[in-house]
């Protein structure tokens, strides 16, 4: 009987340990993303000041390329070059192989649904998204459409900039409250706004 309880207690302790690690890493992910945005803020200020390849911390292999703001939702994020898992852990990533933000074609920016792009679901048609690139140029985009697509059938073409020639696509995982990795993506399409 005693032997049995000791075993049970030991096992419970192991479970507590594992559980604590899991919860810890779960909390670390958003914390890392939040801290990274603070460091990115500084790197971004440097990049804006004309410093080429401003890195947020000395060993970082990522670079801020733009900032995106949704005035209506009071959301503002710094976008990194590249949408690799490593870059996206810190902030929204601008996908390589897509147009530069504000240039002709479609620029795709992806981020996690549970950190920087948790607000994506609140965007609706007509919302204004402003983007400032490292050279200080500000561009306004107007949300024209939101859609849910399969990750491997997004129908996004980086060379097609939509009717205004320049398009911004914000991408995150769908459904927003999902827990497991999903093959679906939520895409917000915004076209360059001539009025802004």
């Amino acid at each position: 009987m005693t032997r049995h309880t000791t075993l049970l207690r030991r096992f419970a302790l192991i479970l507590i340990g594992l559980g604590a690690v899991s919860v810890g890493s779960a909390l670390y992910i958003p914390a890392k993303a939040a801290l990274a945005q603070v460091l990115l803020e500084r790197a971004w200020a440097k990049a804006r000041a004309g410093e080429t390849s401003a890195r947020p911390w000395s060993w970082a292999d990522i670079e801020p390329v733009a900032e995106i703001e949704v005035p209506r939702l009071h959301q503002r994020v710094i976008v990194l070059e590249g949408a690799s898992g490593a870059a996206m852990a810190f902030g929204p990533g601008h996908m390589e192989n897509t147009a530069a933000i504000g240039a002709r074609g479609t620029a795709v920016v992806a981020a996690h649904r549970d950190t920087q792009f948790s607000f994506l679901g609140e965007l609706k048609q007509g919302d204004i998204i402003t983007a400032v690139t490292a050279d200080g140029v500000q561009k306004s985009f107007r949300v024209v459409e939101t859609r849910v697509v399969r990750a491997d059938a997004s129908a996004l073409d980086p060379e097609d900039g939509g009717p205004t020639g320049s398009r911004l696509a914000l991408v995150t995982c769908y459904p927003f409250s999902g827990v497991l990795h999903s093959p679906l993506r939520y895409v917000v399409l915004a076209d360059h706004d001539n009025r802004g």
Binding site: G19, A26, G85, E96, H112, D114, T133, G165
Partner: protein
């Protein structure tokens, strides 16, 4: 006992029940742990790239990568180092360009290099060096040459194909460069130097500047039966003029070395270069050897060399002759004398056009504005003027030209000072506005259009035609700005506009070059120029008719004749006075390459007749005949060299890649390739970053990795594991809690 037995039975049951519970808990946690392990292992594992391609992480520093159709996979860009070996003999030069194609990739590659040559160059020789062998290129009709090349490429043979895209832009395609292999290709051309204001000018363009190619225009055409769209593309060969351009922060590529052997034939004065640091070693009074001080420089701006005769030895005449089996070829360069005293010409109406498109951003726009301000200061009160600026929009300062009063001039100077470079290069409307003349018969004034631009457009022929049609009494003067202006546009527009061209390549050139231009604008022009060759020669001379001469310019004429000897008479009219000079042809010096220059001049003349509305089919036939007969590359003929034996194993694929080019020195990348240009509906296609997007096409695509085009981009994972981890963690903690509670109950039970 019974009770005890019963209790023991109950206990057994409880134990069994608890064991089952524990077993279930264990099972559940095992499942959860496995799930976690799988999660960790399922971290994105990058698929490896197809043969010859690599990931960014695999490339060493300094490797230039080209994007491919496979996302995340890159091809190390082929590189070209060039060497120019230039022999100048009097007013003609022969150049041998050696291009070394280097393939840094692991796979087999076709390198495609877009490169410039002088707009009047006669390209006659192509050699491909493989090991110690030279393979001589053949001149073929363009399509035939292309077919020969494609066949060799498919068979795995090394081959080189030199095609003319514009008179000053060529493409060299080199097929089947092996992994880490270098292939050497040599191209040779002949040219005549430009003589202007007492000095000879050599210009070696080293980089093709990114061009602005206006979008095709669709016009709704009405017929009685209905209507239909007709589409006119001002740049039908747009994709042939586009090459990947490096961002300045990616460093410079394509190193160039250059050596000039100069034998002027007259005592030499100053030898200078406005573009590069040069070292000059004199060789007697008339010769010199010139090289780049740095040894190698990146191909990011034109090389210019100027040499002047020693004071007092100004040669008024150069007469060269080459004897070939089919006749004698002459080239005469005559500097008119005794015309300097001619009176200042009539009052002028000057219309200035300033190109402030994105390609002018940086150094160029400052030089252009400085030049224009200088020109405005130069206006006399009797003159009239106007200023037009354009990018993909356009502003005309005054509705019609106004008097050059101090108020008007100072207003215009304020306007010019505030102009900034941005946007596309939509040249045609500005040109048409400048050439529109409300008083076409007013002979009291000279109407001059002064056009400051880098000519970075691809629709040259459309513009030439417009200039020719609308010119009237106006004369067009182009001022080429920047480190790599489009020389074909500069000289062609000036010729169609019956004016002349000037180059300004740096800030300290503004003053002296503009002073020369003012002399041309203000001094009388020599018209009705004609060359009379001896009848016995039965000659054919080009250009024909001869263009008007501006102050400081010489007559340059080439002739093919059967006989030799006799006297050449040149005559013209300057400010109402007759000018005349004679040349004894028997005095001609023997020289090489005059035949090529004559043929090149003839091709240019035939091509220009298209502007005046000659039948395109006839023009093509005529050019083809001349080019084939004289072994010249042209719009319709290409040079192709093919190795005899295949070198690429059949099972290996061949990638094709364009050699990346430098952004011309002084250019602002953002201004050219977008960033701050407002994108409007009608100009949505205008920013031409195409060349930056896709650069590599796999000739034989690897089956697995190709991304289906119609399905669009593959989007990255958009959620973290935070929630899942949190849930797993909480369940584990919960389980632990249950276990501990159970255990405590059990212990409490056993204590009883």
């Amino acid at each position: 006992m019974r009770r005890l037995k019963a209790s023991s039975k109950a206990h057994d049951l409880r134990v069994t029940f608890r064991s089952a519970q524990i077993f279930l808990l264990l099972l559940l946690s095992t499942i959860l742990l496995t799930a976690m392990a799988v999660r960790t292992r399922a971290q994105p594992q990058e698929p490896s790239c197809a043969q010859g391609l690599m990931r960014k992480s695999e490339a060493g520093t300094g490797t230039l990568l080209l994007r491919t159709a496979v996302p995340g996979c890159y091809l190390p860009a082929p590189r070209v180092a060039a060497d120019f070996d230039i022999d100048i003999a009097g007013p003609v030069a022969r150049t041998r360009v050696t291009q070394r194609f280097e393939n840094p990739a692991e796979g087999w590659v076709e390198g495609v290099y877009l490169f410039p040559l002088p707009e009047n160059s006669a390209v006659d020789t192509l050699k491909m060096k493989i090991g110690d062998r030279f393979i001589e290129g053949q001149i073929k009709e363009r399509q035939t040459a292309r077919r020969i090349y494609e066949a060799a490429k498919a068979e795995g043979k090394k081959a080189s194909l030199v095609e003319q895209e514009r008179p000053n832009v060529f493409t060299n395609s080199v097929a089947n460069i092996g992994p880490h292999e270098t292939i050497v290709v040599q191209i040779e051309y002949q040219e005549s130097l430009r003589y202007d204001s007492g000095r000879f000018h050599l210009r070696v363009p080293l980089v093709v500047a990114p061009r602005y190619n206006p979008v095709p225009q669709a016009t709704l055409v009405q017929y009685r039966e209905g209507s239909q769209y007709s589409v006119f593309d001002p740049v039908p060969d747009r994709e042939r003029l586009e090459a990947p351009v490096l961002r300045p922060e990616e460093g410079k590529v394509n190193p160039v070395s250059l050596e000039v052997r100069l034998e002027a034939g007259f005592p030499l004065g100053a030898i200078t270069s406005d573009s590069h640091a040069i070292s000059v070693v004199r060789n007697g009074a008339t010769g010199a050897a010139i090289a780049l001080t740095q040894g190698e420089e990146p191909a990011d701006r034109d090389f210019t060399l100027t040499f002047a005769p020693a004071p007092g030895s100004d040669p008024a005449v150069s007469l060269l002759k080459e004897t070939k089996s089919d006749g004698n070829y002459y080239l005469a360069l005559i500097v008119p004398r005794g015309t300097e005293t001619a009176a200042r010409s009539r009052p002028r109406e000057a219309v200035f056009i300033l190109d402030n498109s994105g390609s002018m951003g940086g150094e160029s726009i400052r030089q252009a504005k400085a030049s224009l301000l200088l020109a405005l200061d130069r206006l006399q009160p009797a003159d009239r003027f106007n200023v037009i600026r354009f990018d993909d929009t356009m502003t005309q300062l005054f509705r019609t030209s106004v008097d050059a009063t101090p108020e008007n001039v100072s207003y215009a100077k304020g306007f010019v000072s505030n102009i900034e470079a941005r946007g596309g290069t939509v040249m045609l409307p500005a040109l048409l506005a400048a050439l529109s003349d409300p008083t076409p018969n007013d002979r009291s004034r000279l109407r001059q259009v002064i056009f400051l631009t880098d000519g970075a457009v691809g629709n040259e022929s459309q513009l030439f035609t417009a200039i020719d049609e609308k010119l009237g009494r106006s004369r067009l003067f182009t001022v080429g700005i920047g480190s790599a202006p489009n020389s074909y546009f500069m000289s062609g527009a000036a010729r169609a506009g019956r004016g002349t061209y000037t180059y300004i390549s740096s800030a300290d050139q503004v003053q002296p070059r503009m002073a020369e231009l003012f002399a041309k604008l203000e001094r009388p022009v020599m018209t009705e120029l004609s060359a009379e060759w001896p009848d016995a020669l039965k000659g054919e001379s080009w250009p024909n008719p001869l263009p008007d001469l501006y102050a400081g310019e010489p007559v340059l004429v080439t002739l093919k004749g059967t006989d030799s000897g006799g006297v050449l008479t040149l005559s013209g009219n300057i400010a109402g006075r007759q000018w005349r000079t004679t040349l004894d042809l028997s005095q001609a010096r023997d020289a090489k390459g005059i035949e090529k220059l004559w043929a090149r001049s003839k091709i240019a003349a035939i091509d220009e007749s298209r502007v005046q509305g000659a039948d395109p089919a006839q023009i093509d036939t005529a050019i083809l005949a001349v080019a084939l007969e004289h072994h010249l590359a042209s719009r319709l003929t290409s040079l192709v060299a093919v190795d005899v034996t295949p070198s690429r194993p059949e099972n290996l694929i061949l990638s094709s890649a364009q050699v990346p080019l430098n952004l011309p020195a002084g250019w602002d990348f953002g201004k050219v390739f977008g960033g701050d240009t407002p994108v409007r509906q009608d100009h949505a296609q205008l920013n031409v970053p195409d060349s930056l997007l896709t650069t590599v096409m796999l000739t034989k695509a690897p089956p697995a990795a190709v991304q289906p085009n119609d399905a669009g981009l593959v989007l990255p994972q958009g959620g973290t594991d935070a929630r899942l981890l949190l849930i797993i963690g909480l369940i584990l903690l919960g389980l632990a809690g249950v276990l501990l509670t159970r255990e405590r109950i059990a212990r409490a039970g056993s204590r009883q």
